[in-house]
Symmetry: C2
Subunit: 334 residues, 2 copies
């Protein structure tokens, strides 16, 4: 069974979501867990939940990275942070991968510095899965690891994102689109026009340029962009979903008739919300580092943590990193 | 009263939305209209609607730009297109501004080539207004006129966007944010970090970096970015709204109970949809050209066309272009 280290101090409500998520993952035989954080507190929480006989080992870490720590400071000044100890367990081979819901910038920097990049990877990239109106998921990569990119970086993101989709969502030849401002071949900026040529010559199933609206309509499975654009895309989506909820709730409660409708619709709303809940997808993998690194949202609950552990374990079982090295070597030769 | 030329052949259902929008605008004394397109057909439509005594003059144009025409081809090969004739009416001083719901790329190219840029403007920029959860509007600029930008271009977008917001939404000192991937000052890519320094030294009410999620929460009134990022942002929002509707409708009709709820909620939904309907904001102005150019969505109905005419007229009355030239000169001196 894969061994996954879980940073117990990452979520806004740490360590409870991590403790409970680890317990659920261990109970469901998803993975063996190394739970990293303040030993006494974590052991007490586990004992309180009757989890002593589950495959969960506590590994002590005395420090915690906060949202106010810069990535560089978190790495250099907090050598014994739960995040960094978790990454070092991977480097030492004691764990196959790690999950953290902490400060995203700090997790990325820590993973890159502690684990290093795979052969052929210039820049590890953060990938995010989200639902489409077709019911299936789509993956966007990079969503924030690299703000200034060159065409060859985007090509590597495409290869890595395609493997991620293939392994986690079980689709044999996912289509890859390049995020641009029109679907015609020549549309885009300097970066995307050059990347277009590279992807067209690659062994990937390249579907050409896609537009922002194609993210959610299932036209392609994997969408590639630089980390600045991808991060903006992700956060706009979060913001818009929030705004839609707020406006919709207000509209729905504006008349007595629709108040009744609102109450009756409540169950459907819940169902809907779960479908657009990207915590179901188990966090964002940092693709291209030596080892597996899954970054969960700071607001993750136990279910989201368990799902991140599950995806990390599937990365290990699916040998994602071997595939990345092999297929990048092939893509560059091509 | 401002005189606005309306390209009658731009919408998907042309010329009916244009004819009816022009009639509404003329009836409500928003502007005098020059309706540009095939003379006989337009006169027949106007007569059928009893609009002969309204201040609407038909100006003949024999050609129509389609969605398949490239911007360059539309400009060079269709000199007598309704879009180009409308722009020339502005250059000749017969109209103060023009409205087109045609091929956005072609309208932008035509406006730039026929009208030219204002003093101090290196690159005209497309601005889009949309609703926030606070009920007020926000403006994003540039949403697609310039895919590769330099920091000084973004500074000009900020000055122009601020004037647009001030004049159209009547806010004296709108806050300006720079779209980036974190709210801290140093966050962003090469382009935004340099733009940050320029905006910080400008006379604008600069609120620093904003994230994608701030577009819809009303944290600032004006958000500045390059045209690639802005176009992606706009189209992602459109796509997500569509996906939310589709998922929500599906969820709502999945049980009998919620079917009842859905019917009862219908009125509220309609109200909600109108609030997120950006056609209410009257299209996107191309800021920085000599004259006023409002670009409406291809799916515009008569209400959207009327609103675009209204906004174009307000641009004229509010002397937006004089303000742009004056304030850009001041910003550069500063």
């Amino acid at each position: 069974m894969p061994r996954i280290a879980v940073d117990a101090m990452g979520t806004d409500a740490a360590p409870l979501p991590e403790v409970e998520g680890a317990i659920r993952a261990a109970r469901e035989r998803v993975a063996e867990i190394l739970l990293v954080g303040p030993e006494d507190a974590l052991k007490a929480e586990l004992a309180r939940r009757g989890a002593q006989r589950l495959p969960i080992e506590v590994v002590h870490a005395s420090e915690t990275v906060t949202m106010d720590d810069s990535a560089a400071k978190a790495f250099r000044r907090k050598r014994d942070s739960s995040m960094q100890v978790a990454a070092r367990l991977v480097r030492a081979g004691r764990a196959d991968g790690f999950v953290s819901a902490g400060n995203t910038g700090a997790v990325m920097a820590t993973a890159k510095l502690v684990l290093g990049a795979l052969e052929g990877v210039d820049r590890p990239a953060l990938a995010a899965a989200f639902p489409t109106s077709k019911g299936k998921a789509a993956v966007l990569v990079d969503v924030g690891a690299n703000v200034d990119c060159k065409p060859q970086h985007l090509e590597q993101f495409a290869v890595m994102g395609e493997i991620y989709y293939r392994v986690i969502f079980g689709v044999e030849r996912p289509r890859v689109g390049l995020l641009s401002i029109g679907s015609e071949d020549h549309k885009g900026n300097d970066l995307t026009r050059e990347t277009f040529r590279l992807l067209k010559e690659s062994p990937l199933r390249f579907a050409g340029n896609v537009e922002g609206r194609d993210l959610y309509n299932g036209r392609v499975e994997v969408v590639v962009c630089d980390g600045f654009t991808g991060n903006v895309a992700l956060k706009i989506s979060e913001g818009l979903i929030e705004a839609v909820y707020s406006l919709l709730t207000e509209s729905l409660s504006s008349t007595l008739r629709s108040q009744v409708g609102y109450l009756l619709s409540k169950k459907a709303f819940k169902h809907f919300k779960r479908r657009v809940d990207y915590t179901e997808y188990g966090g964002a993998p940092l693709l291209g580092v030596r080892g597996v690194c899954l970054i969960a949202h700071g607001s993750s609950n136990d279910n989201a943590i368990k799902n991140a552990v599950r995806v990390a374990a599937e990365f290990v079982r699916g040998q994602v990193n071997d595939k990345i090295e092999r297929e990048l070597a092939r893509a560059v030769k091509a």
